[in-house]
């Protein structure tokens, strides 16, 4: 009952936004709330089910965004002709070198010989890889660099990118999990923090892949464009019959269509997550979380299960990332900030209730709502606080200006308060 009430409160907050601000803002919050809820579900799998501390959410989200570009954008034929083959070849050589190094490490006996062989393979391999890759990269980036200068994507419907984003994130998670799981819990945190920064660095610098900081704009959409709706006589007639302005109505209709798509994904992920949690697998995960030693004594392979749930959770974050990039219609690597994409999702999970999927969903909506609304609220508060000061005074200017930074502060305080006074979150684990 309490849970239904909590969800009703959040829905009410969004409705109030619609009534008092605008329905566009309200639906914007709803859409990002849905995406955030999916992200929170992913993190909840890792933290709530298994107690894994992943602070690389941003990286997995960005990989999902990359998938949207690689799948959705049309291929750039000229660039492929100029250097596509070389780049693929170079990447294949790079992968081959890494595999060879791993093989040497696992097959050869311990000793100086092995170390020397490995270093030799890696050094020679690195230069061979660069010598194949670099000319290709230069050729591709030279192709009409103002408009394209990258290989483009596959030109498939952008919805296909959502599962692909999950796969990309899962692959990265597997690599990280293999290295850092089974060590101290903090090591996983540092390792994921690092991989997230590297993913962003790759997105920013590898122009042939996703145009780097030049951004990829105009991603294809899974829903109609506002302009097309406004030109469609049926739509205009239908809106006219209920007395709505077709321009505003078209943008609301598009947002509603996104919301419907996202809701379907959220419900599927939520259903899967809930069934997994209720299954023997879910009981095993919680048993491992609560007492690793006992679970291991019962014959459970703790590291393997951790790897499994880590990959799954990261994949869900990747799906959410692809959804978000689809919603934005563009990939802008510079906007990926760890505070916004990693730590905010953590606040969502902890505030919502770690270990409880419904809690994660609620946290996703609530915290996103706060994140959006704290800024105008802070501005309003600062306006009142500084109203006694003379117009144009330095302190007043400063206070109004700094209201924009209220968000981080508020999120930190919310997180600390919940951790202290209600560590199990709004909807505790049963």
């Amino acid at each position: 009952m309490r849970n239904v009430l909590l969800f009703a409160v959040v829905l009410g907050l969004i409705l109030l936004t619609g009534i008092f601000q605008s329905w566009n803002v309200a639906l914007g919050i709803l859409n990002m709330g849905l995406v955030s809820a999916v992200m929170a579900l992913g993190v909840n799998m890792q933290w709530g089910y298994a107690g894994l501390f992943n602070v690389g959410v941003m990286g997995f989200v960005a990989l999902g965004g990359l998938a949207a570009v690689l799948v959705g954008m049309p291929p750039v034929g000229e660039a492929w002709a100029a250097g596509g083959g070389r780049i693929l070849g170079g990447l294949a050589v790079g992968a081959g070198v890494l595999i060879a190094a791993v093989l040497i490490f696992t097959r050869m006996g311990k000793g100086t010989k092995r170390t020397v062989a490995m270093i030799a393979v890696l050094t020679v391999g690195f230069f061979v890889y660069r010598s194949i890759l670099d000319p290709g990269v230069n050729a591709v980036e030279a192709v009409d660099s103002a408009a394209t200068g990258y290989l483009g994507g596959l030109g498939l419907p952008v919805i296909v990118a959502w599962p692909v984003g999950g796969l990309l994130a899962a692959g990265a998670a597997w690599l990280i999990g293999k290295t850092a799981l089974g060590l101290r819990s903090d090591y996983l945190a540092i390792a994921t923090l690092g991989i997230a920064e590297i993913v962003i660095a790759v997105l920013k610098n590898e122009d042939w892949l996703s145009r780097g900081v030049k951004n990829v704009i105009g991603l294809p959409r899974p829903v109609p464009y506002e302009v097309d709706l406004q030109r469609d006589p049926d739509f205009v007639a239908a809106m006219g019959s209920i007395g709505a302005d077709p321009v505003i109505a078209s943008s609301i209709a598009v947002k509603l269509a996104y919301a419907a798509l996202f809701l379907v994904v959220l419900l599927i992920v939520l259903w899967l997550a809930q069934s997994a949690l209720a299954s023997p697998w879910g009981r095993m995960m919680r048993a491992i979380r609560d007492n690793e030693v006992a679970a291991e004594a019962m014959g459970k392979d703790v590291t393997r299960r951790h790897l499994q749930v880590f990959v799954l959770g990261s994949a869900v974050c990747g799906i959410a990332g692809a959804m978000m990039t689809t919603l934005d219609g563009q990939l802008t690597p510079a906007t990926y900030q760890p505070l916004r994409f990693t730590f905010l999702v953590w606040v969502m999970v902890i505030v919502g209730g770690s270990g409880n999927n419904w809690g994660a969903v609620l946290g996703g909506f609530l915290i996103w709502f706060l994140w959006v609304q704290v800024e105008p609220l802070g501005l309003w508060l600062m306006d009142i606080l500084s109203s006694g000061l003379p117009e144009g005074s330095l302190l007043r200017e400063r206070m109004l200006e700094s209201a924009a930074h209220m968000r981080l502060f508020t999120m930190g305080v919310v997180l600390l308060l919940v951790l202290r006074f209600s560590p199990r979150g709004l909807i505790p684990e049963r």
Binding site: G51, F53, V55, F126, T179, A180, L183, R184, S185, D186, Y187, A189, I190, A191, L193, G194, I195, E197, I198, A201, K204, N205, P338, L339, F343, W346, V347, I350, E401, S402, H405, M406, R407, L408, F409, T410, M411, G412, V413, L415, L416, L419, R420, P423
Partner: protein, 336 residues
């Protein structure tokens, strides 16, 4: 002659910047490692503690400048440093009292403390941006060079110049003094010894009558001072921007882990290892190799292994290698 020219180029573009950066990282990593050793968690708020300390120092610097006080050739920030440290100590002690102490009493698992430190990080970050704003600020008002490239060339008659910025020299001197004082304190004083005892075995330390709250408070004071000094030195050398301090978290943690979490000596070694690898791997070696190799072998491309934007990848790669082959770090830190 070519060899010496190459060597000077190497010193100028690699050794000098990397040494200064390494000293900054080492001071940061010392803070992380001390929190880890005594309070037993990875402090994610450390980067933002550094940012806060630097901000407090900048504010004090501005205050001194408006009073017309200056240190002549040295940056005024050095004079403002004690004020910055004091502000940070107060902030950190207040945080411990309000936030961390509750969890310490409950004896929660370390990962909860890490999450709590994440919340603290948010608050510090917001606080810093709130007070000084997110923009880039340069506050170095001393002379720029201890030795400029032109002077060096005139002085030695070599083709290549060696420039040492005063901020780099100050960084190294300050770091050496701070580290010497810290090690003297940890190894020679009664309080320092009790801290090390507490770090080695908490229960035994409690049995021998060491007051845990006192040890914790002293640790926080030292950590705040180290963080402020590291942050101010980094800010003098590069510039102050709250976001870059958050990003320093990764190389700092990498340094602490590479050296072995909980080991002060390891933190220093780790800082220099990370800094040197970062600079050496992202440096374009063309000029140096042009001097060192015979004409026929001189490289035609830049010989830059990775672009500078990938410097995080370097600290990360070193971190992964250490995690794979020697999880306790070079100096056998804790592994609990």
């Amino acid at each position: 002659m070519d060899f010496i020219n190459g060597l000077i180029t190497f010193l100028n573009f690699v050794a000098v910047p990397a040494t200064a950066y390494g000293a900054q990282l080492a001071l940061g990593a010392l803070g992380v490692t001390l929190v880890y050793g005594i309070l037993r968690f990875s402090n994610f708020a450390h980067g933002d503690t550094m940012a806060f300390g630097t901000m407090a120092t900048i504010l004090a610097t501005w205050g001194l400048q408006s009073l017309g006080v200056s240190l002549g050739p040295l940056p005024t920030a050095l004079l403002a440093l004690p004020a910055g440290i004091l502000a940070t100590v107060l902030l950190v002690l207040a945080t411990d009292r309000i936030v961390y102490r509750f969890y310490r009493r409950q004896r929660v698992v370390p990962v909860i403390l890490v999450i709590v430190s994440m919340g603290v990080m948010f608050v510090y970050n917001g606080l810093t941006r709130f007070i000084i704003g997110p923009d880039d600020r340069s506050f170095d008002d001393g002379t720029r060079f201890l030795m400029s490239a032109g002077d060096f060339r005139r002085w030695t008659g070599l083709e290549e110049g060696l420039a040492i910025r005063s901020s780099q020299a100050i960084t190294l001197v300050t770091a050496i003094v701070v580290v010497a004082v810290l090690f003297w304190f940890l190894n020679r004083t009664r309080t320092g010894k009790s801290m090390r005892a507490f770090s080695d075995n908490e229960d035994l330390a409690l049995l021998s009558g060491i007051s845990p709250e006192r040890v914790v408070a002293i640790t926080w004071i030292i950590v705040a001072a180290l963080a402020t000094v590291a942050g101010v030195l980094y800010g003098l050398d590069k510039s102050f921007m709250p976001f870059t301090y958050f990003q320093l978290l990764l190389p700092i943690f990498a340094a602490a882990i590479v050296g072995g979490l909980g080991s002060p000596l390891g933190a220093i070694a780790g800082g220099f290892i990370i800094a040197y690898s970062e600079v050496m791997i992202t440096y374009a070696w063309k000029k140096v190799l042009g001097y060192w190799l015979p004409e026929s072998l001189a490289p035609s491309n830049l010989v830059q292994l990775l672009s500078t934007d990938y410097k995080f990848a370097v600290s990360f790669a070193i971190l992964v290698i250490v995690l794979l082959f020697r999880p306790t770090g070079l100096f056998r830190g804790k592994s609990v």
